[in-house]
Amino acid sequence: MFDILAYPFMQYALVAGILVGFLASYYGVFVVQRGLSFLGDGLAHAAFGGVALGILLSVQPLWIAVPFTIIVAIGITWVRNRTRLASDTVIGIFFALSMALGVVFLYLKTGYSVDAFNYLFGSILAVTPTDLAVIAVVTAATLCTIPLWGRWAYATFDREMGLVGRLPVFFDDYLISVLIAVTVVVSVKVVGIVLVAAFLVIPAATGRIMARTFAGMTSYSMVIGILTALVGLLASFRLNIPSGATIVITQGIIFAALMLLTKQGPRLGEPARTERGGA
C-alpha cells in the first residue's frame, strides 16, 4: 500500500491533494451557502482561458491562469454588485467568454498540446514542485484569513445584518471571489477544469446535510474534502484511472451514502411548519 509513496510524483500528488482538498472544501461552504455553486464552474472555465493563453505564449500556464482567473472573478463580482442581474447570468457571460477565448488561443497554437489535456481532466503525474509551492502559498494565505471566518459567515447568513454591523461586506465579496479563483486555478492540475467545481460544492453540500451549525458544516466539509482527495488519489493510482474523476466519484458516493443515512429535516428553503392559520 505504502510502496507508492516512494515515488516523488505520488508524494507531490498526495500533498497537493490534501492541500487542495482543504482549500476547496473550506471555501466551498461559502460558495454553497451564498448560492454561488455555478461560480466554481465559471472560474474553472476562466482558468481554461488563462491556461490556453499560457500555452499559446509558451509560458508556464499557471502564471497566466492565476491573474486571468482573478480578473474574471473580480469582473463577475463587480458586474453582479453593479447590475441587477442574477449571479448565474453574470457568471454565464464570463464563463462563455473565457471559454471562447480559450478555444481561439488553443486554435492559434499549432500542434497538439498535452498540457491542455492535463489541465482539462487533471493528472497526478502533472503536479510539479512549482505547482506544489504555489498551492502551499495559497494554503498559507487561506490560513491567515481564518480569523475572517466569523464575519464572512455573518454576511453569508444575512448580508444586510452584516452591513448594519459595519462589516466590509463588499470588500469581502471581492476577497472571497479572488481566493476562490486562486483555489480553482491551483486545483485544476489535480482535479481538472471540467470537474473542479464539484470539488468546491460536494464536500460542502455533504457537510450541510450532516451539520446543525455553520461551524459544524465547515469542519465536516474540510474533513470530507481532505479524506476524499486522499482516497481518490490512491484509488486513481491503483486502478489507473484519471485522478480528478476518481476523487469526484468518491465524493459523490459519500454524499449519497450520508444523504440516505442522515435523517433529513424539511426541504431546504421551506419552513418547517407554519404559524397557526398564517403563512
Binding site: G150, E160, L167, R212, T213, P266, P271
Partner: protein
Amino acid sequence: MQALEVEKLSVRFGEQYILHDVTCGVGEGAFLAVVGPNGAGKTTFLKVLLGLVKPASGKVLVHGKSPQEMEPKWLGYVPQVKTLDRSFPALAIELVVSGLRGRWPGRIKPGERKTAIKALEQVDAAQLAHRALNSLSGGELQRIYLACGTVRKPRLIVMDEPATGIDMVAQKTLYQILEDYRKENKSTVVMVTHDWGVANHHASAVLIINREMIAFGLPGQVLTNENLARAYGHAGHPMTPIIE
C-alpha cells in the same frame, strides 16, 4: 438632545425621488411607527437610519450623530422573518450571539452563552436556544430576531414589518415584549408597519409617508381619514380605528 432628528430628508435613486422632504423627530424611549403603502419609501427610510443609504439632501441625526458615525452596538436591527435563509445551518442561540459579537460564532464562550440566554428569556424563548432556526415558526423566529437585535441593549431598535408572516397571537406577544423592553431600557424604537391599528395602539409617534411626508405627530392626531386617504388613496381598512 433628540434620540432621532430628521430634517428635510430626501433620497434619490438616479433621477427619481424615493423620499422627499421628510421631517420628524422623537425623544429617547419613543416608539415611532412609520406607515405608508407599498413603495412609499418606508424601508428606504429605515435604511437611511441604519446608515445603509445616504440621503441626497437633508439632515439625519441619531443621538446627535450621523448614521454612518454611529457605533454598531448602538443599533439593533430586526429584519423581516421572511428574509431568513432557511438553508443556513444555525441554532437560535448562535443568532443571538452573532448579535452580541457582530460576527457569526464558531465556539460560544460561557459568558456569551449566559448573556444570550438572558436575552432569550426576556423574549420568552429560552427554551428555543438550541433549536435549529429552520425548524422555528414565524412567531418563534421573530422573537429570536428580537433577542438578537436587543442583546447589546442598543439605543435605537429598527424593525421592518416585524408582524409579517406571524399570526395574531404571536403579534400580540411580540408587541407586549417590545413594549416591556422599551420601558425597561429606554431604547427608541422605529418600526415600519402596514397595520394602522398597531401604530395607533402601541406607537408614541406616527410618521405617514408616501414618497413625501404626509403627516407626523401623535397617533391620535395624524391617523385621520384625510391623511390615510392622502397616503393610500383610500381610507377603508379592516383593522383601522381611524380618528374622524
